[in-house]
């Protein structure tokens, strides 16, 4: 212990900077910041101290149009073409898409329809055990002719995932598996996977599988997305479909 004098005000401002306070306490801190220049200096010192936590997050490439949207909002001339995405790292075989892109969802419905057709036309593609006859064909966005992964539900309701293509993952990256079912607003991580080997996801992890459950694999920073949501480009994506009752 250094015996350094630390005032209650300094701690209050730290709590305010972190967003810990309730409305009443925050109002107290705001009043302080509004009348005391030293309080503002203290607040920015705390903000500065915590910048290292920002740098611990893997940077996320903004959408190519974001800068243009900023420039448009400011009435500035749009100065350049979209930035190059990280997709070059995997040979340009995948496309960067987001869960919320309208054009992506439209394209996906076509992909999924083709995927289902591919499966029903080739029933020996995978051994489907007795039980719920559900399958998902995960494909690289934009590559409708090649199933990337075949996903089936096993006899114990485990999810069996079988890779059909091989991809090279950069040493500083991981492939993360996500799912989203029913009305869930956000995908949920099922963990990091080895993209070269079959994967079995226990029923206890996957939970109840909805009729249109969505699965995707994204390329993330080593160890998984730092955001808790898919942040990297989608490698494979597909929706569960029921092929027979």
């Amino acid at each position: 212990m250094s015996g350094k004098q630390i005032s209650e005000q300094t701690i209050l401002i730290a709590e305010y900077t972190l967003g810990l306070l309730n409305l009443q306490e925050a109002a107290q801190a705001q009043a302080l910041l509004g009348k005391d220049k030293n309080a503002v200096i203290t607040a920015l010192q705390w903000e500065n101290r915590f910048l290292g936590l920002v740098d611990e997050l893997s940077p996320v490439e903004p959408s190519p149009a974001l800068l243009q949207r900023i420039q448009a909002a400011l009435g500035q001339e749009m100065t350049r073409a979209p930035r190059q995405s990280v997709l070059k790292r995997v040979g340009g075989k995948i496309m960067a898409v987001t869960w919320s892109s309208l054009w992506f969802w439209r394209a996906l419905s076509v992909i999924l329809a083709l995927g289902a057709l591919t499966y029903t036309a080739n029933p020996k593609l995978i051994p489907v055990p007795s039980g719920p006859n559900q399958v998902a064909i995960l494909q690289a966005p934009g590559q409708t002719s090649t199933p990337g992964w075949v996903v089936t539900v096993g006899s114990q309701d485990n999810l069996i995932m079988d890779p059909r293509v091989r991809i090279d993952v950069p040493p500083d990256a991981s492939v993360q598996l996500w799912t989203r079912g029913g009305n869930a607003p956000q995908p949920r991580s099922l963990g990091i996977i080895d993209p070269g080997r079959p994967v079995i996801v226990p029923a206890t992890s996957i939970g109840e599988i909805s009729s249109d459950q969505l699965f995707e694999m994204t390329l993330e920073a080593k160890g998984g997305s730092p955001t808790g949501s898919p942040a990297g480009p989608i490698l494979f994506i597909g929706r569960m479909v029921t092929i027979a009752e």
Binding site: S2, K4, I6, T10, I11, A14, E15, T17, L18, G19, L20, L21, N22, K37, V40, I41, A43, L44, Q45, E47, N48, R49, F50, G52, L53, V54, D55, E56, L57, S58, P59, V60, E61, P62, S63, L66, L67, I70, Q71, A73, L74, Q76, E77, T79, R80, T98, W99, S100, A184, P185, Q186, P187, R188, S189, S225, P226, T227, G228, S229, A231
Partner: protein, 177 residues
């Protein structure tokens, strides 16, 4: 070395004088970091990009109000951004998935990459007791209040406050004069 020679203060001054190239340089340098934090806190990429857009607009319009005597330009930018994010979280509520996944998304350890003050601060954070460090990270990365942290950790609010405040004291006490 992570130490960047990037001159945030100079870029802000240039923005204040209408230099559009300075704004673009600031964007190139910082937007990916800002977006990462926004996504972390908001859980929604669209919302996050909207916040980043708003912040760059605000930075451009208010660059002349930045006073280097108050603090670093980068801290100033993030103070604006975090304030906006926290307001958004408080007003709109939080999507369920973020509540369910927060605990999986906190860093287990904080590596020390270099000898900058920022890095030394991370080292001090890493050396806090877990019960001190965790709520601080939950506040910073998830925007949780004391009440929300207490609920998620299933401990009394007063106990969370004690842990956080003792952690903040340790961070300052171990800071070089």
């Amino acid at each position: 070395m992570v130490v960047s020679p990037f001159d945030y203060e100079g870029r802000l001054a240039a923005c204040a004088s209408g230099d559009q190239k300075a704004l673009q340089e600031l964007y190139d340098k910082e937007a990916p970091h800002m977006l990462a934090l926004c996504i972390k806190m908001l859980s929604q990429r669209d919302d996050a990009e909207e916040v980043v857009r708003d912040i760059f607009v605000l930075v451009w319009k208010n660059a002349a109000n930045y006073d280097p005597e108050l603090g670093t330009a980068r801290a100033w930018i993030y103070s604006i951004m975090r304030y906006r994010i926290l307001n958004r979280l408080r007003q709109s509520g939080r999507p369920e998935p973020a509540e369910a996944e927060w605990i999986d998304t906190l860093p287990d350890g904080i590596p020390v990459r270099d000898d900058t003050e920022s890095s030394r601060m991370m080292q001090r954070l890493a050396h806090l007791d877990d019960h001190q460090r965790r709520p601080i990270l939950m506040a910073f990365y998830n925007g949780f209040t004391y009440d929300q942290i207490a609920t998620r950790l299933a401990i009394p609010v007063a106990q969370v406050k004690t842990h956080v405040r003792s952690g903040l004291h340790v961070l300052l006490e171990n800071e070089p004069a």
